[in-house]
């Protein structure tokens, strides 16, 4: 896969908020390229997901886009600014949630937020919360109400749960109203409830117009993305909307079984139905409806499961083929 463009054609690509061209990165002691000539673009307001196995190059890519790592070659522009020569301009436009928590455990939630706000010039420096401008104090109290941490926002971060800390990081990273929010495995370490809550909040962020760039191991998180880019061994192996990736690569199938497996096997063979025993009888639908198929079978069935492809199926299929 060479150059891949998000959006709907050359016109969209011209106003892309993230443009990556032939990006290569080889670490100083690396024997191979961690990122090996990838190209893609992301449109404003898009939800873009970068997927791949461990070591695929996801964190390397996001580190370069967020100016914390320099590329070996290639060109990356965020909001029109080059990440190498105009790093400061890029930093003003992006918010970042790192893979590892980046809150200072010695500070309270409010102090962490205040630190960020001052660093980005959103509010002037004041040594205490009560001396900060009214607009800031209101913002913090609103944020605390949203997270249900009104009582905890002025307590040290270590008192808060992992999920709440993550939400605090996201709110902190949005204080300077970035055009792009980078999320590097944002739900890592959270339980299912924490992940769900966090994603409810992120959907609101994206709906408000912020471009969201996500890397994740949880493929269900990428199901709602506008574009999915699958990277393996530093190269893009698939790109497009989740629906297209799923449709092109994985077909629906039905899993059936019967108490009298011999009879079922014989019937399927007689009818010319192609199947695989996995150990259940797996039959590709290939455009047929499950109802049609099952109606034609006389043998009483004990198991019937219709399997629709998920992004995870597509992903595993793609990565498996890429590894071959």
């Amino acid at each position: 896969m060479g150059e891949l463009t998000g959006g709907i054609g050359p016109a969209a690509a011209r106003v892309a908020i993230i443009q990556v061209e032939d990006l290569v990165k080889r670490y100083r002691k690396g024997k191979t390229n961690a990122v090996d000539g990838i190209s893609f673009s992301v449109q404003p307001g898009e939800f873009f997901a970068l997927l791949g196995p461990n070591g695929a190059g996801k964190t390397t890519t996001i580190s370069i886009l967020t100016t914390t790592l320099s590329p070996t070659s290639g060109r990356v522009r965020i909001g029109g600014a080059d990440v190498v020569t105009q790093a400061s301009a890029v930093r003003r436009q992006v918010g970042i949630i790192f893979q590892n928590p980046s809150l200072d455990m010695n500070l309270t939630g409010e102090e962490n937020v205040r630190f960020h706000a001052v660093l980005y010039g959103v509010y002037p420096y004041r040594p205490q919360f009560r001396l900060m401008p009214a607009a800031y104090r209101e913002h913090v109290l609103e944020m605390a109400a949203l997270l249900n941490i009104e009582g905890d926002v002025f307590r040290p971060i270590k008192m808060l749960s992992g999920g709440t800390r993550r939400k605090l990081e996201i709110i902190r990273s949005l204080m300077h109203r970035p055009a792009v929010l980078f999320l590097d495995e944002p739900t890592r370490g959270l339980d299912a409830n924490g992940r769900r809550n966090l994603w409810e909040y992120l959907r609101g962020v994206q709906a408000a117009g912020t471009t969201v760039f996500l890397t994740t191991h949880y493929l269900e998180e990428a199901e709602g993305a506008d574009s999915v880019c699958i990277i393996n061994k530093g190269r893009i192996v698939s790109f497009g909307p989740p629906s297209r990736i799923k449709a092109e690569l994985v077909t629906e199938h039905v899993l059936i079984d019967a108490d009298d497996r011999e009879r079922l096997r014989a019937e399927l063979l007689t009818r010319g139905v192609v199947f695989a025993e996995t150990p259940l009888f797996r039959i590709k639908l290939d455009g047929r409806s499950a109802h049609q198929l099952l109606k034609a079978i006389d043998t009483p069935l004990s198991v019937v499961t219709v399997h629709q492809p998920s992004l995870e199926d597509a992903y595993l299929s793609i990565i498996g083929k890429a590894d071959e």
């Binding site: 670490y27 100083r28 967020t66 100016t67 914390t68 790592l69 320099s70 400061s88 301009a89 930093r91 003003r92 992006v94 970042i96 790192f98 893979q99 590892n100 928590p101 980046s102 809150l103 200072d104 010695n106 500070l107 102090e111 205040r114 630190f115 960020h116 001052v118 660093l119 980005y120 010039g121 002037p124 420096y125 040594p127 040290p156």
Partner: protein, 259 residues
Amino acid sequence: MSELGPVLAIAQRDLMKLLRDRPRLVTTLVFPLLLIGVLGGSLQANLGRHLGFDFLAFTFTGVFGQTLFQTTAQGVMSLINDRENDFSQEMFVSPISRYSIIIGKILGESLVALPQAVAIIAFALIVGIRASATQFGGLVVVGLLVCLLGGAFGVLVLSNLSSQEMAGQIFTFVMLPQYFLAGIFNPIKVLPPYLDVLSRIAPMRYAVDLGRAAFYAGRPESARVVLDSPVLDLAVIGGMFAVFLVVGTALFVRGERNR
């Protein structure tokens, strides 16, 4: 965008970390007092009358400079710890200049060192070391300069490190020899040539010597204790500060991005 606010915010963070860490606060205040009281006291009792000057006061001025220098250097090197915990990424992905981050860090760690300076001077008064308000005031001013130099030195060392573990190992290696080469506890008015060369390239020498120049100004023992003129000490400190800061910051930032 004015970067004074971010610099102050970075500095305040370091001070708050100290004030909220009671064990660390106690340790940083007590250790230099032990050095002065125990080491200085025993050396004074056993060697003082042969040297012709108060060894306790000599140790006090040495430990004063060493403590401030080392505290700020070590504090700046905690950026390594921040990096491993990803907090420094929060600073380094912000749009402020890299120099502002480093200067904020140096300023913050200088604020962390100041309670130690106060404690050391208070202890000196308690154990009977006498000096005028001007002399103590001069020492405090020198202390601020020493903090800046220590911080810049910390940046230079930091730029060559990749982990907290390495920082701990290297720190002893670059600090401990300076204790002796700077004459914190041991007079170094006369040194063999090879040690004299090493002493003259040790930043802590000039930090300690400038403090002694301020403290011993106008006293008869000044000639036995002070090594170089204060003007030379100031010039070297200023030059080292500029070089360490510029080179150290450039190397550190490049090392952050060019992995």
